[in-house]
């Protein structure tokens, strides 16, 4: 998953990844949890666009900010859920060498089988903890995990929701589906080539750190969050089967300010985010490579009577980095627009680009299209909220991939997926 101890981090950065954004063993992107629906008595469509996670409606954003604790008031809800993603991956050109233990093309794989502890643990306390088995990696590891405490109160004259989150993936706590941890695509193939360059906020230290941040969502719309991340120990990461990767030298500060309004017929947010870290090999001492991210993001979502839902989510992240004494900049743009009819039939278009002015010049631009169908997830659905399924077809087209234009289309990928949860 990440760099093993004993390698030189700078050379590692230069040679292989800067970041394996879509690495076969990175943190999973997917999330859809019926335990939340059982806890609240609500159907999945109340919190999720298209009646399937993880794209949140404004109602879902507030549930998350409230610490996953709102309920129908009844006792006895068990905060457990499970999820499975099976996919079929076809690339325009055969992969040589092929993915380990698989064919050069047209692979069917059990990409994720996850178990969750997700929901209210105690008054004000909630959890989202995921353990994932990948049949591609033949391994089980701790995945996205956070614990939250939240309360509604008045502080310094401001009414709102105030909380603390402890998590292992920077920005996984963010509710707006604009930042890398939970933005579109919500699932993509681990068996296809992809961009090798991405900023710190895009999975670079996901799963190998623990962060504590405090946040406030004021009733006047202002959202603010501040905290720090530090590396988890090698022993702990070994216990949860996560490769340790580079070490954060000291603390990595994370901050976020946004303005969020839920008008029920529609919602929107605009925000800024930042994070910086100094990363070095775990066996090294002294200064490491430096990364400083700044970004702007926003979303608009028209919900109306929920029959026709339009969403636009986007982010622009700029990173200033110093890797092995080379200063460079990386800029990443992502924008996705989606339409869902009757909370079941959806289509999404995403444009993505990465501009890398380092000597590696790992520029990438492309387009992604997805069509999906979620037959359940509504109040009237069969076996609601136990049965949940999304079937989808996703196509990724590259105009440039990792600095190369001439044969970028070789990596164009068609993925069909079945995504179930209970």
């Amino acid at each position: 998953m990440y760099l093993r101890s004993g390698k030189n981090f700078s050379s590692y950065i230069r040679s292989t990844l800067i970041v394996l954004v879509f690495s076969a063993t990175g943190m999973s992107e997917a999330l859809a949890l019926p335990s939340f629906a059982r806890q609240t008595g609500e159907a999945c469509d109340a919190c999720h666009v298209g009646a399937y996670g993880p794209q949140l409606t404004a109602h879902g954003m507030k549930f998350k900010l409230g610490g996953y604790t709102e309920s129908d008031g009844k006792d006895g809800h068990i905060p457990l859920a499970a999820m499975l993603i099976e996919n079929y991956t076809h690339t325009a050109k055969d992969q040589d060498p092929p993915p380990e233990d698989l064919s050069k093309n047209n692979n069917l794989a059990l990409q994720e089988l996850s178990g969750f502890v997700a929901g209210k643990l105690y008054d004000g306390f909630g959890a989202f903890a995921q353990v994932t088995y990948s049949d591609i990696d033949k391994a089980t590891a701790l995945d996205n995990t956070e614990l939250r405490y939240a309360t509604e109160t008045t502080l310094l004259g401001q009414e709102g929701t105030f909380g603390v989150t402890v998590n292992n993936n920077p920005a996984m706590q963010d509710p707006f589906n604009t930042l890398p941890a939970w933005r579109f695509p919500y699932t993509s193939s681990d068996l296809a080539p992809g961009p090798e360059a991405g900023p710190l906020l895009d999975d670079m230290i996901a799963g190998t750190v623990m962060g504590v941040t405090a946040y406030a969502q004021l009733n006047n719309g202002v959202y603010a969050e501040l905290g720090n991340y530090s590396s988890l120990s090698n022993n702990f990461l070994g216990t949860v089967n996560v490769d340790p990767g580079p070490e954060v030298n000291g603390l990595a500060p994370y901050w976020r300010v946004a303005y969020f309004k839920d008008k029920r017929a529609y919602s929107y947010s605009v925000g800024v985010v930042g994070m910086s870290a100094e990363l070095r090999d775990r066996n090294a001492s002294g200064a490491g490579d430096k990364f400083a991210d700044y970004g702007i993001d926003g979303h608009y979502q028209f919900l109306g009577n929920r029959m026709n839902i339009f969403s636009v989510n986007g982010s622009y992240l700029h990173e200033a980095r110093t890797v092995a004494d080379e200063k460079s900049n990386l800029d990443q743009l992502n924008i996705a627009g989606s339409y869902y009819y009757d909370k079941s039939y959806g289509g999404t278009v995403r444009y993505f680009s990465t501009a890398d002015d380092s000597s590696a010049k790992l520029d990438t631009t492309g387009l992604m299209l997805q069509a999906d169908w979620s037959p359940f997830g509504k109040e009237s659905s069969w076996q609601a909220p136990l049965a949940n399924l999304r079937l989808g077809l996703q196509y990724t087209e590259y105009n440039k991939l990792n600095g190369v234009s001439s044969n970028a289309s070789d990596a164009n990928t068609l993925m069909a997926f079945a995504w179930a949860s209970l």
Partner: protein
């Protein structure tokens, strides 16, 4: 009880919900409101937390038969202390007052809803709620 209907196109719904304020009593509103449009208002404003199925409670209680029902009267729903102390009957007028500004009627209630200031939208919603019986 619940009429099947298709969704209003988004622009028409937005227009319907942004009509000028009307002055009328809630009881009159029930008669003059459009239940079909009110169903859309319900879907937009209420459906995340409330069901219209009998006995189906979410974070809020079922709204089936709410017009004319005693407040805090669903046995297996956990109402707030404030709602239990309200001791009223959900007449059209009372519902209209409540959904205009919930905290104005039940200051310590747990419903997280700021209110629906548009009188025409409330009239349509009340007309729809009145069909749930």
């Amino acid at each position: 009880m619940i009429k099947p209907r298709g969704g209003l196109p988004p622009l028409l719904l937005a227009f319907a919900l942004s009509s000028p304020l009307m002055t009328m009593s809630a009881a009159h509103a029930v008669e003059s409101g459009d239940a079909n449009v009110g169903h859309d208002v319900f879907d937009q404003e209420c459906s995340d937390c409330h069901s219209i199925k009998p006995g189906k409670n979410k974070k809020g209680p079922s709204l089936f038969g709410v017009v004319g029902r005693n407040s805090a009267s669903i046995a297996d729903f956990q109402y707030s202390d404030g709602m239990r102390a309200l001791n009223t009957v959900w007449s059209a007028d009372k519902i209209d007052e409540y959904i205009t500004k919930p905290k104005g009627v039940v200051p310590t209630g747990k419903m997280k809803y700021d209110g629906l200031p548009d009188a025409k939208a409330r009239a349509n919603l009340l007309a729809f709620l009145a069909t749930l019986k």
